[in-house]
């Protein structure tokens, strides 16, 4: 039996284990760029990069930059991370994904209102962001990071969510 177990351990390739909370969230932000479709008007030019913008105090500590380094979005654009201040609202228009950190809780409603009909994927990791009109929130459920997805908010933003992402996510409301 032990020999059998030994052989099988070599056969498998994925290691079970644990990851830092923000490594997992960086993984999700990367995957959103692959499993969501943005309309052409969301980009300034055909070769413009795909921007993931972090608003507020950055909780990733460099993980997001390291995760996307050298990688491309679903439609082949190079991924970039930008940090944006909540006060500089015009900067949001260049962003395809906007991640609101917990420090921006009090501004969440305004930012969602500002971006709701623009092709911007709004995501945060504080409770009920998706229920309040954001497109996605990343929440800790037990020992895992889960995605709550608000499809109607995505539709309003003219963003199409791939069926695979819908399957994995928890649809809200």
């Amino acid at each position: 039996m032990l020999i059998l177990l030994g052989l099988l351990t070599v056969a498998g390739h994925s290691a079970r284990g644990q990851m830092d909370e923000y490594s997992i969230k960086a993984g999700y932000l990367y995957n959103f760029s692959k499993y969501v479709t943005w309309p052409k008007e969301a980009f300034r030019a055909a070769d413009a990069p795909f921007l993931i913008c972090i608003v507020g105090r950055d909780p990733f500590e460099g993980r997001l930059d390291q995760a996307i380094a050298g990688k491309n979005s679903g439609d082949g654009r190079p991924l970039q991370v930008r940090r944006v201040s909540n006060l500089d609202r015009t900067a949001f228009h260049d962003c395809q994904e906007v991640f609101l950190s917990k420090s921006e809780r009090d501004h969440a409603a305004e930012i969602v209102e500002l971006l709701k009909e623009t092709p911007t994927f709004t995501v945060a990791d504080f409770e009920s962001f998706a229920e309040k009109g954001g497109i996605a929130d990343l929440r800790i459920d037990g020992a895992r990071v889960k995605v709550d997805l608000n499809i109607s908010a995505a539709n309003r933003a003219d963003l199409k969510i791939n069926a695979r992402l819908q399957q994995v996510a928890n649809l809200v409301p």
Binding site: T9, G12, G17, D20, S23
Partner: protein, 681 residues
């Protein structure tokens, strides 16, 4: 003490054995080297996160001794959470084995049911009615004995558990009766987490074979899960000293202790609505000849059935109010054919039958107010449609019957008040109204203070109650009891202080002191004027104790949890008598070691139980038990294989017998094993 040295020596040997293969870790594909540069480590990990598929991302566990601290540190108690991964890694077969690893808890088994003792209180003859067990917030304790089933008779398959949340302490301020010493909530895996088919087989000792098939899917936005499983165990030959006479086969019960059990679960989820149908049935042969039955007779069994239909609806109203509504129908029954010996020779064919049905409606509203208060209001109503007990005595053709019915209504409120960013007050109260006994109001107050981010200090005060069960009010037990409608609820007053300290990224230490004062304990006494037994509020108990727990997590996959509990329990009388089945010392050790490139895991689940006294005041020696499991995930996480050895050192030990047992103590199983294979498509 010899056993003490043996215990320490064995733990040391095991730790060394598992520490040796750690050299292999540095060559692992995840590039993890012990003590490597933390910045490059997080860079590699972040990159790895983008290599995972969406499904794998949703399945990875968050590394966080600190998050655990945050998550459970907001609860006004010392919470223990056991996850699905841990259930696999430690080879737990039943909820009883899971609970046996929780600090301060201990399981007693009489080869009929598993009984849970908490913090020095494990009365022999009681029916798990001082713990509230729930599945997804749905109460499992039946409405005739208020009994919670914990072994194979627990209606949910252990493989379908996502996690078990254990909150020790009084929970009546939220949950009402039976939340006396602890509240245990078993959370099931959700359809969204189980896409596809999962099949499992598990052969084990004593001719045990188990199998399960589960399907999870999504059809037009409706999430579904269907699962069915069964286990059959042939049993073993068991020797009982008390029956060692030629007439009783020299004390050997042949092919005894076997059981058959079946589980089924169906879940449908659509937006905020969830429909859950659960069924479980276990038919167990009872080898101890309890309740005066004929020894070595295969007819004496207990068939426990439990089923429910549960509808819940969750919704956020106007972006502010969280609504939770639930309605459910429960059905439980116990059929126990009895085979008592007749005075003239031969065996009678008596029948004991219990049947309970109840309908529950629950409504809860929560709201966050000014970011400082989280208010909750709720009501819970239960219609005990049927609470039937029936005992048929064949030789005299008489039937004893009791079948009352009535409502239990309750309202409760709770406020979690963030006084400052470091100090939270959790206050709650609940009033329960009963149709047949006096009602009860129970408050609970908890103060949670974080002087620094890595420290939390909690103080808890609360009361809880246990209403007399229909069985205690009117016991149907073959004409040996009389009724007592004047019983009042038992009460417990608890005070607890907890300190939790995060030490660096890897270690967490916590300690608590507690005191339980229990009054109006319902006890069976002999009424000489009637010549019958009767239940009365006749006793008291006190338990004071201290616990310490140490948790460590490192190199992402190594995990150790160890705890010690010291309890001083007595009967509250001037004589300060000890309680039976109350160990003064308890220790737990749980260790997970990754071997062979992080794909093979070894899990050690060990418990030490101190000396306990039987009903006739005989001491049962202390003992350590070691359970060992090897687990591997293969084929890209689509298959799991595990091999477990329970009571690996074949330690002989016994649990105290109960009032209905002829045996003063009942010997437990020696070394036994289980192999388990699960595949997913």
């Amino acid at each position: 003490m010899k056993s003490g040295y043996t215990l320490a020596g064995l733990i040391a040997c095991l730790v060394i054995t598992f520490a040796l293969p750690s050299a292999a870790q540095t060559v692992g594909p995840d590039g993890d080297s012990a003590g490597g540069d933390s910045k490059s480590k997080s860079a590699q990990e972040a990159k790895k996160a983008t290599d995972l598929s969406l499904e794998e991302l949703a399945d990875v566990e968050v590394y966080s001794a600190s998050k655990h601290l945050q998550r459970t540190s907001e609860a006004p108690s010392s919470v223990t959470v056991i996850t699905r991964d841990e259930i696999q890694e430690y080879g737990y077969r039943t909820l009883a084995e899971i609970l046996n690893s929780v600090r301060g808890f201990y399981i007693t088994y009489d080869r009929n049911y598993y009984y849970l003792g908490v913090r020095g209180f494990g009365r022999l003859g009681d029916w798990n009615s001082r713990i509230l067990v729930m599945i997804d917030g749905h109460r499992i304790n039946n409405n005739v004995y208020d009994q919670a089933l914990l072994g194979y008779e627990f209606p949910l398959d252990v493989d379908l558990i996502e996690r078990v949340e254990v909150v020790p302490g009084p929970g009546s301020a939220l949950y009402g009766s039976n939340a006396f010493f602890a509240v245990i909530n078993v959370i099931t895996r959700k359809p969204a987490q189980m896409k596809g088919i999962e099949l499992s087989v598990e052969p084990g000792s004593y001719g045990t074979y188990g199998g399960r098939a589960t399907y999870g899917g999504n059809f037009k936005g409706v999430e579904m899960l269907f699962s069915g499983g069964a286990t059959n165990s042939a049993g073993q030959n068991l020797f009982f000293r008390e029956f060692d006479t030629p007439a009783n086969n020299n004390g050997v019960a042949v092919n005894a202790d076997g059981f058959d059990d079946v589980h089924a679960l169906a879940v449908f989820g659509y937006r905020g609505l969830t429909v859950e149908v659960l069924f479980g049935s276990r038919d167990k042969h009872i080898p101890t000849a309890a309740f005066g039955n004929e020894f070595n007779d295969p007819r004496f069994q207990a068939i426990d059935d439990q089923a429910y239909l549960n509808l819940t609806y969750q919704h956020v109203i106007a972006g502010k109010w969280q609504l939770f509504a639930r309605t459910s129908w429960d059905d439980t029954s116990l059929t126990a054919p009895q085979a008592p010996p007749l005075p003239g020779g031969g065996v009678a064919n008596d029948d004991f039958f219990v049947h309970g049905d109840w309908w529950t409606g629950e409504l809860r509203l929560s709201r966050n107010l000014a970011e400082k208060h989280t208010l909750t209001f709720g009501t819970e109503d239960r219609d005990n449609v049927r609470q039937k007990q029936q005992f048929y005595i064949a030789p005299t053709n008489t039937t004893f019957l009791s079948a009352p019915s009535g409502w239990i209504d309750a309202i409760y409120a709770q406020d979690e008040f963030a006084i400052t960013s470091k100090l939270t007050l959790n206050a709650g109260v609940r009033y329960d109204h009963y149709y047949d006994v006096k009602g009860s109001t129970n408050p609970r107050l908890g103060l949670i203070y974080h002087p620094w981010t890595r420290t939390s200090v909690k103080m808890l005060y609360g009361t809880a109650f246990r209403a007399p069960s229909p069985f205690e009010l009117s016991p149907v037990a073959g004409g040996t009891f009389e009724a007592n409608p004047n019983l009042v609820p038992e009460t417990v007053r608890t005070m607890e202080g907890v300190v939790e300290q995060q030490l660096g990224r890897r270690f967490q230490l916590s300690g608590d002191v507690f005191q339980n004062r229990i009054k109006n304990l319902i006890t069976s006494e002999f009424d000489s004027s009637a010549g019958l037994l009767v239940y009365r509020n006749a006793q008291m108990a006190n338990a004071t104790g201290v616990e310490a727990e140490f948790q460590a997590q490192w190199a992402r996959d190594w995990r150790v949890v160890t705890s010690f509990t010291y309890t001083d329990a007595d009967d509250g009388s001037p004589a300060d008598l000890k309680l039976p089945n109350s160990p003064r010392h308890m220790a737990k050790l749980n260790l997970i070691a990754p071997l062979a490139w992080h794909r093979l895991f070894a899990g050690l689940d060990a418990q030490y139980t101190g000396i306990r006294y039987t009903l006739t005041n005989q001491p049962l020696g202390s003992f350590p038990i070691f359970n060992l499991t090897l687990l591997t995930h293969a084929l890209g996480n689509r298959a799991d294989f595990s091999a477990s050895l329970y009571n690996a050192l074949n330690r002989q030990y016994s649990d105290p017998g109960r009032p209905e047992d002829a045996e003063g103590s009942i010997q437990q199983d020696g070394r036994n094993f289980r192999v388990k294979m699960t595949v997913r498509f």
